[in-house]
């Protein structure tokens, strides 16, 4: 089943985990040390984040390190910029429409 990404980041603990591993790659145990929840609960959150491809795993010796998919940041910026441009484009048109409406009223 493909997960809804909003589901992944709607959870406050998962958002906190994201914030943590944005700074450095961490093992599940190191992540768990930052929360008052069980190691199992952390593993569950990490599984959700992994399924959403929000985080990647790297094996180093006997430990698995979790880190963020940083490269996606640039794509996000582009996407947001496009969405913003949709609105800018419409509003610029509306500025002209309003200007015309004003003249007609006079």
């Amino acid at each position: 089943m493909r997960r809804d990404i909003f589901q992944a980041i709607a959870d406050p603990t998962r958002r906190a985990i994201i914030t943590l591993i944005a700074l450095q790659a961490m093992t599940p145990n190191a992540i768990a040390d930052n929360f008052n929840i069980t190691r199992q609960a952390v593993s569950k959150h990490l599984r959700v984040l992994t399924e959403c491809e929000l985080v990647k795993q790297e094996q180093q010796g006997r430990e698995i390190y979790y880190s963020l998919e940083i490269e996606k940041m640039k794509e996000i910026d582009r996407w947001l910029d496009q969405l913003r441009k949709i609105w800018e484009s419409q509003f610029n048109r509306l500025d002209q429409v309003l200007s015309t409406m004003k003249k007609q009223k006079k």
């Binding site: 809804d4 990404i5 909003f6 992944a8 980041i9 709607a10 958002r15 994201i18 914030t19 944005a22 959403c52 491809e53 929000l54 963020l68 998919e69 940083i70 996606k72 940041m73 794509e75 996000i76 582009r78 996407w79 947001l80 496009q82 969405l83 913003r84 441009k85 949709i86 609105w87 800018e88 484009s89 419409q90 509003f91 048109r93 509306l94 500025d95 002209q96 429409v97 309003l98 200007s99 409406m101 004003k102 009223k105």
Partner: protein
């Protein structure tokens, strides 16, 4: 002058909501008309190079606007906006859903909330501020809403939208 007008745009991924604030260099009466009358909406309510064409509009609670976004190639993408609440010259809410040309809605849709307020601009002319919030029930819907305004090249990015939105929370 236009540069002094506020334009604020934020996306709250977790809440599936887009927030937009824009000021317009016109009084409330004009801005309200521009947002609620088909003759004016069709002049601006589509991102270039698309144009908007309203087929039917009945601006009252329970009424609807049935309109199309038309691409330069002439492709039509239809949508229905059903008005759920109207406080004249202050606020209106609507439910927006894409549709086929026979007005069959494709659910889920999105909920739109528009709030209008007039203020005095720095040069004494009235400035009208419009706050828009758009709540999308589903990510797929949000994807589609965005795709609607775009050219083929941008659709490629849309395929990765789920990942992109996810990573937004890193900011």
């Amino acid at each position: 002058m236009k540069n002094n007008l506020l334009f604020d745009f934020t996306v709250d991924k977790a809440a599936k909501t887009v927030f937009i604030t824009r000021e317009f260099d016109a009084n409330l009466d004009l801005v309200w008309d521009a947002f609620t009358k088909a003759e004016f909406l069709d002049q601006w309510n589509a991102p270039a190079p698309f144009t908007a064409k309203t087929k039917a509009m009945d601006f009252r609670v329970g009424g609807r606007r049935f309109y199309a976004m038309i691409s330069p190639e002439g492709n039509e993408r239809w949508a229905i906006q059903r008005y759920t609440s109207i406080s004249p010259k202050t606020n209106f809410k609507m439910f927006n859903a894409f549709a086929d040309k026979d007005e069959n809605p494709e659910l889920p849709g999105s909920e739109w909330d528009y709030t209008f307020s007039e203020q005095n601009g720095p040069d004494g002319h009235p400035v009208t501020k419009v706050n828009i919030t758009i709540y999308n029930e589903s990510l797929a819907r949000m994807e589609k809403m965005i795709e609607m305004g775009f050219t083929e090249g941008f659709k490629m990015i849309m395929h990765n939208l789920e990942n992109l939105l996810a990573s937004l929370s890193q900011k």
